[in-house]
């Protein structure tokens, strides 16, 4: 490890950080958000809100056909419109370099690499960018731009029996298999063989994607809204063949991400325009554009086959999932993956498949795989419990595996049973009559349901710099992203404890690629990864400061890099777990389903900030309500485009849809883990929709296996009459 500048050194990343001499106990104590005041006063500036002199505005033009080739682009009349500066398209845009694998281990999605050829692979594909002096001018000119197409027949028909489905590895292998499935099913006392579907779902974060690109003294400076500044900077530098040091990406406040805020058409087109015009250019997506340009969760068609002994012990488990992807980029929603962690059986088979259609590229969305997968698997478990006459919680406890069902590795903490016990106690599960369709209040049918949750606890290599300032404060610099998770605050508490000082003495600076490589805000591993790097640097700094009196004016900085430490971490099945409970009321006359209360109890490692952690977990559960009852991106077969591509058509839960939702946690220590933080951003949604669907069955006696559980579906299914 080398000293890089005066007063700076790189500390070795060791797995067991030194115990702070002064324990402040910041970690584990509720702390309001350090940027909270800026957010409640409107002072916090998001990507589209930083003023620049001489700013020009770009507006994307999207294809109106679902498949074909661009025949012509009528730029001349548009260039004559007031304020219009340029029109970029596939004939004049710079060629991009796309032959690389990015930081997340995947090649770039061509949807982001705009204007490279004349092919149109889906409706809403970016075909041009109109840049003008004002956003009104740019938008009007973009709408006036006439693009003609050579149209080809399109295929957007997603269904479970597609003959062209193929197995696809994503961030996990497509297939795992052990034992003789058919033999075990044949020998089972109870068999459940059911199909579930989930629809296309959209991230729909409140802040639209926005970027301002400009050249600043030979460097490309991009002010953006994203989940990882070094990730986006790396991709932009590769696409535009720039030296990595020539690209800076900043993203201080981010209005939600949920997996969608990576490299997208808005940054790439803004960089192209800023380069062509040599002035700052801002591109903001509008809500309708977001539906086709920023990824989404693929619809899934899943089949679950369970075979069990008379007492509910699993003999066979098969979970197959089909999802869709575009014709230009392979992405699989790995819904069958959750079974590899949750339940073991002598015969165990999981398969993730995909089919390529003329649709936009899907992407990671909050608990990719786990969210739809746990809906199917946990609903199927409930159906098995009914068949076996075993309480759904007891059924799960009987099937708790000792080791990873597929990996065979030990668990780094698996406290699912504790979650169920605590949850059952608080929810009042013991008083539940398991029979469905019995509880009425007028036209309302009341039911309760439960489901299990899990999500992996990963980590990515990160670097951090911690500086002791001359005034006695400390500055932490790390290219972390706070997309609403509370990471900025959590990291402040972690740094405070690691330095043995009060949180008020920490200045946490994040969201700047100049701070060096760091994990993205994704995979529920941001805070875990960044806390690790900060702890290591802080420990190194304390060693440097030991015995010293006074700090020079330029401060003393220690940097860390966790790459080696991560590699040295013992292989285990590390996951968060949880038990979800829901009570619903179903109006038998109108088919309306309302969640009355929800409780989630989680085992999610060390909880850094109980205040914001509760928000993360409850927020995930609210997503579960939304997924179970409301969300559904609808595609129009004839045009291949969205039917409901706005927030009036694409329903997310409103305040009125969300009742009392409680989240709490049980102890989940892992003595072998140097940070102990597991991540809480995604586990809250997992199993939540299943708990609600199971409660709807308990209320009505009807299994609803297709999400969302809409009024028309309730009415069509019949059940108890008014």
């Amino acid at each position: 490890m080398t000293v890089t500048t005066t007063g700076t050194q790189t500390a070795p990343a060791h797995a067991a950080p030194a115990v702070p001499a002064t324990v402040t106990g910041a970690v584990g104590t509720a702390h309001t958000r350090v940027e909270g005041r800026d957010k409640v006063t409107g002072a916090a500036r998001y990507a589209g809100e930083i003023p620049f002199a001489d700013l020009a505005h770009g507006w994307l033009v999207l294809s109106t056909v679902a498949r074909g080739r661009i025949r012509s682009i009528g730029t001349a009349p548009v260039l004559a419109m007031p304020g219009v500066l340029t029109v970029l398209h596939h004939r004049n845009a710079p060629r991009l370099h796309l032959d690389y694998i990015g930081l997340l281990g995947v090649p770039p999605d061509p949807t982001a690499a705009v204007f490279q050829n004349d092919r149109v692979p889906h409706a809403g594909w970016p075909v041009a960018l109109v840049v003008a002096e004002t956003s009104e001018q740019a938008r009007e000119a973009a709408e006036a731009l006439v693009v003609t197409y050579e149209q080809e027949p399109h295929d957007i028909g997603f269904r479970g029996d597609r003959p062209d489905a193929f197995t696809l590895d994503g961030h996990m292998p497509a297939v795992t298999e052990k034992g003789d499935l058919e033999a075990e099913l044949a020998a089972s006392a109870h068999v459940v063989d059911v199909e579930y579907t989930t629809p296309e779902e959209h991230h729909a974060m409140m802040e639209p994607h926005a970027a301002t690109a400009r050249w600043d003294d030979g460097r490309l400076d991009v002010v953006d809204s994203n989940q990882g500044t070094t990730w986006v900077a790396d991709e932009l530098s590769r696409m535009f063949s720039l030296d990595a040091s020539a690209v800076r990406v900043r993203s201080e406040h981010v209005g939600g991400g949920f997996g969608s805020k990576g490299v997208r058409a808005h940054q790439v087109s803004a960089v192209m325009a800023a380069t062509a015009l040599r002035r700052p250019v801002r591109v903001v997506l509008n809500r309708r554009q977001m539906f086709s340009l920023t990824g989404y969760r693929s619809p899934t068609a899943q089949r679950v086959r369970l075979g069990a002994d008379a007492d509910g012990r699993l003999r066979a488990l098969e979970h197959r999932s089909l999802s869709q992807t575009s014709t230009v980029w392979d992405f699989v929603e790995p819904s069958a993956g959750v079974a590899r962690v949750m339940y073991d059986a002598p015969a165990h088979r999981t398969v993730n498949e995909a089919v390529r259609l003329d649709v936009p590229s899907p992407t990671w969305m909050r608990a990719p795989g786990e969210a739809p997968g746990a809906f199917a698997l946990e609903a199927a478990l409930d159906e098995l419990a009914e068949r076996c006459g075993v309480d759904p919680i007891e059924l799960r406890l009987r099937n708790e595996p000792e080791r990873g069902p597929v990996s065979g590795m030990p668990f780094g903490g698996r406290h699912l049973a504790a979650c169920f016990r605590e949850g059952a106690r608080r929810f009042g599960w013991a008083d539940r009559d398991p029979r469905p369709g019995l509880r009425r209040e007028g036209n309302l049918l009341i039911g309760t349901g439960t489901a299990a949750a899990s999500f992996p606890a990963g980590a990515g290599p990160s670097t951090a710099a911690v500086t002791a300032e001359a005034d006695g404060t400390f500055t932490v610099r790390i290219a972390a992203a706070d997309i609403g998770t509370g990471a900025r605050t959590a990291l402040t508490l972690v740094a405070a404890d690691a330095l043995g000082v009060a949180p008020a003495r920490i200045r946490m600076r994040i969201g700047d690629s100049d701070f060096g490589p760091a994990m993205i805000a994704g995979g529920s591993s941001g805070t875990r990864s960044w806390a690790w790097a900060i702890t290591v640097a802080a420990d190194g700094l304390r060693e440097r400061l030991a015995g010293r009196t006074g700090v020079p004016a330029e401060g003393i900085t220690v940097r860390s890099d966790t790459t080696e430490a991560l590699g040295a971490l013992a292989q285990k099945e590390r996951h968060s777990f949880g038990a979800q409970f829901a009570e619903v009321a179903v109006d038998a006359a109108t088919g309306e389903v309302r969640v009355r209360r929800m409780l989630g109890v989680f085992a999610a490692g060390r909880i850094v900030n109980p205040l914001t952690a509760r928000g993360q977990l409850v927020g995930g559960m609210v997503w579960g309500i939304s997924m179970a009852l409301h969300e559904e991106g609808i595609r129009d077969r004839a045009s291949g485009g969205h039917y409901n591509g706005d927030l009036a058509g694409y329903h997310i839960a409103t305040n009125a849809d969300v009742p009392v939702v409680e989240a709490d946690w049980v102890d989940d220590p892992d003595p072998d883990d140097p940070v102990g933080i597991k991540g809480i951003g995604e586990v809250g949604i997992v199993g939540a929709a299943a708990a609600i669907a199971n409660a709807v069955w308990h209320a009505t006696g009807v299994r609803h296996r297709n999400l969302p559980i809409r009024p028309d579906r309730i009415l069509a299914a019949g059940g108890p009459r008014v």
């Binding site: 005041r37 009104e136 409140m206 609403g484 609210v622 927030l647 969300v658």
Partner: protein, 185 residues
């Protein structure tokens, strides 16, 4: 009268008058954000479907994305930037901060402006869609969590912070009631 596509307009924002020439297409939201550097008001959907752009116009909550700037002349406009008194946060802002009534913060200014108005609307005796009996003789409904949820439903929060938003609005409303009672006493 010859048609024109822009006008000079005086906007009264947070007690301050701003005269500017606006393209008639410019919404109040864009005038605030792009022309007056008041970026606290957020653009979530730009078509009245999310509530992130909520401001108060003559004391009433309004989505500024569907309000043309030229048509807002002479109205008293209050944005999130105009709620605090110096360093002292508005009780609604303080409650959102203390009770973590937000996560990413993007819907927050709209939620807060909306909540300020919800508390006033309730104090004025307005019923809501979940009020059991809307007839005046039934009296004003208590501001229960159920009532708050319905009244705040024009502000979407994708982070799902609704539970703590409801707590924050309830706390701020209770503080207002106490303050009113003290003033009367």
């Amino acid at each position: 009268m010859t048609p024109s596509t822009s006008s000079s307009v005086t906007l009264n924002i947070n007690g301050e008058k701003h005269t500017l020439s606006v393209d008639h297409r410019t919404t109040l939201l864009d005038a605030l954000r792009e022309r007056l550097d008041l970026t606290g008001t957020k653009k979530g959907c730009d078509q009245g479907q999310c509530g992130a752009c909520t401001v108060l116009v003559d004391g009433r909550r309004t989505v500024s994305c569907l309000q043309l700037a030229v048509a807002a002349e002479d109205r008293e406009i209050t944005t999130v930037e105009g709620l605090a008194e110096g360093e002292r946060l508005h009780p609604v802002q303080q409650a959102f901060l203390d009770l973590d009534g937000f996560q990413c913060g993007y819907c927050t200014p709209g939620q807060i402006c909306s909540a300020v108005a919800v508390i006033e609307e309730h104090a004025a005796g307005w019923p809501s869609a979940v009020t059991d009996d809307v007839r005046p003789e039934a009296g004003p409904p208590p501001l229960t969590p159920h009532e708050i949820r319905e009244r705040m439903s024009g502000n979407l929060c994708r982070c799902g912070a609704y539970v703590s938003i409801v707590e924050a609005v309830a706390r701020a409303a209770a503080e207002r009631t106490e303050a009113t009672e003290e003033a009367v006493a």
